[in-house]
């Protein structure tokens, strides 16, 4: 068994349910945006009617009519179904779906690049299958959806539809449902093919060890213990007689893992709180861990016995209710593959356990992060987990479909495609955008950083306050404000990525899936409603 880790500084967050305040944030944001939308509509109507009073009257009327239509949407379900079926049929009859067979081509060649190491292999294959699905399905769906409504308008087929008792919102919703029907079908077929392929391509050893979905129990910050500077953390380090947030910095550039020194009193402490009843009928519980080994003295690796001696670790399990050590084990640390320690289930009877690790080998350091050690509560099927991964892709497609449908209510087909892709790409740079607007990313706005790049100026000193640079900084201010607004409107698509779980054999937490679903629904509902207001007040024959 190879232990694997999800790299995150606070793994228990993955399993936490949405915070209770979330709906309020959502409502607040939507309200603020609605006010902006209303003001924009008012302004446009004013420009058209040249009368503020009339514009106000018209806009309020449109708002109320719209709200009524939104509330009564379910009454139109038979019409929505008919429209959905139309979109579904359209995609099928136009034979666009054949393009999806392109998806099979890369599979013929993937084998060439297959890594040799077993843990690398499945990771590669899963990334590959997920990539093949995303990279084909997403552009194609954006293309299909973006062209749909504009084509209807341009070819006037929309005339015969809107002159029936169809509400405009039904047209949008029907379209989204129809397309999502197609995409679901295609996604399932692709997923099925991908899964068969994964099975066929992976080695027997991989299938034994990685073909699974681990359900880990991660350490959580305890209520009653803090570090010396009063931080509550799931993993704390004991150093110089104190609990601390960090261990020893061994000067590795990537400080994700913190180290403890061998043959000292330094130790690492994980705190576990869980429901012990889940282990009632179990003999033992596997504890999986992956530690990084850092050697200060290089030693002579060719010296006989150097490999065998290795780095040793002592793991102690302390029941925090009684304070007794309930289990301990000394073992040699595997650098890459990690270790599994089988602990008798009765050690976890209290549901409140501290795990203490010490490095026993002199001049060696062990590096560890909160998610590096976990109790393996359960193992689920790889297939089921793979399906959960598809759900995430599905959510992403839903989001893009809704964005495209909304954009296509006021943009031409081609522009809609560009627009939707822009949202998609910016969505991946969401963290970066937030970083820039909150000043965490050095180098300033777009123009300033271009100037720095051009003049080979470093990122820390201020620019010359010459005329040109001042203008550039002024423009940057505006651009930054724009980006700030964008950062609130563009969806953070990095959230919608769960392939890593599937690839490393961890069960995708339901809580994460739920939060993703809420995020997407919370995003698309206002987006589609915005599109509806635009569409309803658009002259379709002009």
């Amino acid at each position: 068994m190879f232990a694997m880790v999800i790299e995150t500084t606070n793994p228990s967050l993955l399993y936490s349910m949405p915070h209770w305040s979330l709906p309020f944030w959502w409502i607040g944001t939507v309200l603020i945006l609605s006010v902006f939308g209303f003001a924009g509509a008012l302004l446009l109507t004013w420009l058209k009617t040249h009368s503020a009073a009339r514009a106000f009257q018209l806009t309020v009327k449109a708002l109320f009519e719209g709200l009524i239509e939104i509330v009564t949407l379910p009454a139109g379900c038979s019409r929505i179904f008919a429209l959905a079926k139309l979109s579904f049929r359209e995609a099928i009859r136009r034979r666009i779906l054949y393009v999806f067979f392109l998806f099979l081509i890369p599979f013929l060649f993937a084998g060439w690049y297959l890594p040799n190491s077993p843990e690398g292999q499945l990771r590669f294959l899963v990334a590959f299958v997920n990539g093949a699905i995303s990279w084909l399905l997403i552009p194609l769906s954006v293309f299909l959806v973006s062209m749909s409504l504009p084509t209807d308008i341009q070819q006037h087929t929309i005339y015969t539809v809107v002159t029936k008792p169809v509400r405009r919102l039904e047209i949008l919703v029907g379209r989204i449902l129809g397309f999502m029907g197609i995409f679901t079908l295609v996604l399932l077929i692709m997923g099925g093919v991908g899964l068969i392929y994964l099975r066929g391509q992976s080695d027997a050893t991989v299938r034994q060890s990685q073909w699974t979905a681990r359900v880990p129990i991660y350490a959580t910050a305890p209520e009653d213990v803090t570090t010396a500077n009063e931080l509550k953390l799931p993993l704390m380090f004991y150093k110089k007689g104190q609990l601390q947030a960090q261990g020893t910095n061994v000067g590795k550039e990537w400080a994700y893992r913190s180290h403890i020194e061998g043959a000292t009193s330094d130790s690492a402490h994980w705190f576990f709180q869980f429901d012990p009843s889940q282990f009632q009928n179990r003999e033992e519980v596997p504890v999986e861990l992956t530690f990084d080994i850092f050697k200060t003295t290089k030693g002579d690796p060719t010296r006989p016995g150097a490999e065998e001696s290795g780095v040793w670790c002592l793991l102690r399990f302390v029941d925090r209710k009684t304070g007794e050590t309930v289990f301990d084990r000394t073992f040699r640390v595997n650098n890459n593959r990690g270790n599994v320690v089988y602990v008798p289930a009765k050690a976890f009877a209290s549901g409140n356990v501290e795990v203490i690790a010490q490095c026993l080998t002199r001049n060696q350091f062990l590096g560890m992060a909160p998610a590096d050690l976990y109790l393996l509560a359960d193992e689920r099927t790889f297939e089921g987990n793979f399906l959960k991964g598809l759900v995430t892709i599905w959510l992403k497609i839903l989001l893009l479909t809704c964005v495209a449908v909304t954009a296509s209510t006021f943009l031409k087909g081609f522009v809609t495609i560009l627009f939707t892709f822009m949202v998609y790409i910016l969505g991946f740079f969401h963290d970066f955008m937030i970083g820039i607007v909150t000043g965490q990313v050095r180098g300033g706005g777009p123009l300033e950083s271009s100037i720095r790049l051009f003049t080979q100026n470093n990122q820390v000193t201020d620019l010359d306050p010459n005329f040109f640079n001042r203008i550039a900084l002024g423009v940057d201010m505006l651009l930054l404000e724009l980006m700030r607004a964008l950062a609130y409107i563009i969806p953070n698509l990095t959230l919608l990525d769960t392939a890593e779980f599937v690839a490393s054999g961890f069960d995708i937490p339901w809580a994460l899936l739920l939060r993703n679903a809420l995020f997407v629904i919370g995003y698309v509902v206002p987006v589609v409603i915005f599109g509806y207001f635009v569409f309803k007040n658009r002259e379709l024959a002009a």
Binding site: A82, K85, L86, I158, Y159, T160, P165, E539, A542
Partner: protein, 307 residues
């Protein structure tokens, strides 16, 4: 106005503007019209005179720049009125990947009709427009005339009270034209109201009860077809079964009045004559309502209402 008005427009005006709001075309200028329940009303005018624009305004496909339109007592922008309206667009803009049955099924589902009723109507409409042999073929393969027919069937799927037909006979062969006219008359006989627009004078002359003539977005003439086409200073008499003495007597009467009897009655001009006359008149005096050479009997402005 009377409660039986199915369509009422007041100062209905449409200016097409470009993206920046600059004026492109004055497509319709202050149209006042009333269409009564149960009549066949024709909108007549040369290409580009604003017929299609008027119909689109009535359907809410366009928003008026000024004025308003009431259709079945509701504002044109109200979706609910569409329950009782059928519309055949200028060209049948339908989904070309569907076949005839699927097309009617799709449009039928947009109404509150039971599945059974829908299937019944689909069958009878396909028969009625003569597409029985092509009912399983996709519209892509249809000829223009066939497309027109399925377009009409689509407009009638909800058994509408008011039917708006934009150039219903365009693309049809003479037989098809004939059938279309018969269909329109039979719709009136069922008590429905039909508004059609056309530049084909013969169609309008045959079937319409009343017509409005548009030119460059202005209403030029409005009235009953029979009235518009009668020549008031001529009398036409056609009598059967008169004795020779009686005929002689009539001739004498005519001679006494210095008449020259050709035949008796009001002979009709063709609509084409009237039409050309109006257009010439209109070009000579732009912006003025057509004044027929009938002595002091027609109001000039404003052209409200009906006979």
């Amino acid at each position: 106005m009377t409660t039986d008005a199915v369509i009422e427009t007041r100062n209905l005006t449409k200016v097409y503007r470009d993206f920046w709001g600059r004026k492109k075309v004055d497509a319709l200028k202050s149209l006042n019209l009333t269409v009564q329940r149960g009549e066949i009303f024709g909108l007549l005018g040369p290409n580009g005179s604003g017929k299609t624009t008027s119909i689109k305004l009535l359907l809410g496909l366009l928003f008026p720049s000024n004025g308003e339109a009431l259709v079945l007592g509701k504002p044109a922008s109200d979706v609910a009125k569409n329950e009782r309206i059928g519309y055949l667009p200028e060209e049948s803009y339908l989904y070309r990947f569907l076949n005839a049955e699927e097309t009617l099924d799709f449009y039928g589902r947009l109404f509150d009709i039971s599945g059974k009723e829908r299937r019944k109507r689909i069958d009878s409409l396909i028969q009625q427009v003569g597409l029985n042999r092509a009912r399983k073929r996709v519209l892509k393969e249809y000829s223009k005339g066939m497309t027109r027919r399925i377009g009409v069937a689509q407009a009638l799927i909800n058994d509408p009270e008011l039917i708006l037909l934009d150039e219903p006979t365009s693309g049809l062969d003479p037989l098809g034209t004939r059938e279309m006219k018969d269909l329109i008359r039979s719709l009136r006989d069922e008590g429905k109201t039909v508004v059609l627009c056309s530049h084909l004078l013969a169609d309008v002359q045959d079937v319409c009860d009343r017509i409005a003539i548009l030119h460059q977005g202005e209403l030029k003439e409005l009235g009953r077809v029979s009235d518009l086409l009668s020549i008031q200073d001529m009398t036409e008499i056609k009598v059967g079964g008169l004795s020779d003495e009686a005929k002689e007597e009539i001739r004498q009467v005519v001679a006494r009045h210095n008449g020259n009897l050709v035949s008796m009655g009001h002979p009709s001009t063709t609509l084409e004559d009237l039409f050309l006359k109006i257009i010439r008149e209109s070009e000579a005096h732009p912006g003025r309502r057509y004044l027929p050479e009938r002595e002091g009997e027609q109001p000039t402005e404003p052209p409200v209402s009906s006979n």
